[in-house]
Amino acid sequence: MSALQQYGILFALTLGSIGFVLSLYALARAIGRNRAEPGKDVPATAGSLSRDPVWVRYHARFGGYALLFLAFDMEMAFMYPWSVVYRQEGLVALLDMGVFLAILFLGLLYGWSQGALRRQ
């Protein structure tokens, strides 16, 4: 089965699941109707009514981790092709990736020492 046919199957699988979900929605709509009542559409906050919009500038405390993760994430892209040919290439591959990972680990250590790896 050629690669393109496999992608076709995956695409069909996606459309199939979306179709399944839409048929489930249609079945539910056929069973009963929704009624808009006062207070029902306010997001539930444990028994008290708070209508204020919460779409504010959310302060995420993992800023230090996120920056390091953005750069560190790329290491994965280089490691997959390397891992596939590793056994065949032998020692030079190990040393090669060893240098690469050591460099990245150096960056991680620097971040750690500068206090990036904590809740800002």
Binding site: G32, D41, A44, M79, G98
Partner: protein, 299 residues
């Protein structure tokens, strides 16, 4: 014929995962529980928040279910029994499950509710912790099997399963897999006690049914990935291949959810700290060890 078995596996697998998940929460094994819950949700009203981001609110459950089903597409149950045997199967598993995060951010941001939004962004923090710990153990597995295709990975474990070949990798992948499927003790986005349902809180009726289905298929897919990468997929002495796969997947799911019953929910700050300060160094050590082992041992 094989597509029939695969669909059957998906439905039965989701059913059994739902039964075990309900046991992990209530402590009682009720076979009719999931069917009743599904019918109840089908018949309940599906309430829409007053000022939602309607696109996000509708797409989130569907995206979660589609991502989970796609990640199951590369799981081999038996030598010929697989939906699509991609050459980069292991990578595709991780790519499909990256969209669980997108679905939870959408589900969190959509209904404009405080609990949902905090749950959504918390899961992004959790991803920053576990993402590297899913990828590096898979690289170590690929080093041994010299290919990313899941069928070749299982065949490479003919003599020795990966759980014995690289136990450190198994432990890291298991913990990161549980965090990826936000199974308790890593259920930060939908924490029952401290966010009253978090991202799941605002979904009712049929949308909640699709969201819960997505979660069950997600747990099933993480459990089958652990089986394929570390427990030798369909390899087993007496029983046919698909039987071994099914048994291993159910045992792994039961162990994963039992751990949730016994451990308190993890704190996001300490989860991130442990992942980055201990997890990633251990993953690098695991890659180095497997590197040496692959060269030395002809297995």
């Amino acid at each position: 014929m094989s597509t029939l078995i695969l669909v059957l596996f998906l439905l039965l697998g989701t059913y059994f995962v739902a039964v075990i998940e309900e046991w992990s929460v209530t402590g009682r094994l009720r076979p009719a529980g999931p069917v009743r819950a599904a019918l109840r949700l089908l018949g309940t009203e599906s309430v829409l928040a007053r000022k939602p981001d309607r696109l996000f609110f509708e797409v989130a459950p569907v995206l979660l279910l589609v991502a989970a089903i796609l990640s199951l597409a590369i799981i081999p149950l038996a030598p010929g029994l697989i939906v699509t045997d991609l050459a980069t199967g292991a990578l595709f598993f991780n790519a499909a499950l990256a969209y669980v995060l997108v679905a939870l951010i959408m589900g969190g941001w959509g209904p404009d509710g405080a609990y949902a939004m905090i749950g959504g962004w918390r899961f992004l923090g959790q991803l920053i912790g576990y993402a590297m710990l899913v990828v590096m153990p898979i690289t170590a597995v690929a080093m041994r099997s010299e290919s990313l295709s899941t069928v070749v990975i299982v065949q490479s474990q003919e003599q020795l399963w990966n759980i014995l070949y690289q136990p450190l990798g198994f432990v890291l992948f298991a913990l990161a897999g549980m965090a990826m499927a936000f199974v308790p003790p890593f259920d930060l986005p939908t924490g029952a006690g401290d966010l009253a349902g978090g991202v799941e809180a605002e979904y009712t009726g049929v949308r909640r049914l699709v969201f819960r289905l997505g979660r069950m298929v997600l747990i099933l897919s993480v459990a089958s990935a652990m089986t394929v990468f570390y427990l030798g997929g369909w390899l087993g002495p007496v029983l046919p291949g698909w039987a071994w796969s099914a048994i291993k997947i159910l045992v792994v799911t039961a162990l994963m959810l039992a751990a949730g019953r016994a451990l308190p929910r993890v704190r996001e700050a300490s989860f991130l700290a442990w992942c980055w300060k201990l997890g990633i160094p251990l993953a690098l050590v695991n890659i180095f060890l497997v590197g040496v082992l692959v060269l030395v041992v002809p297995l």
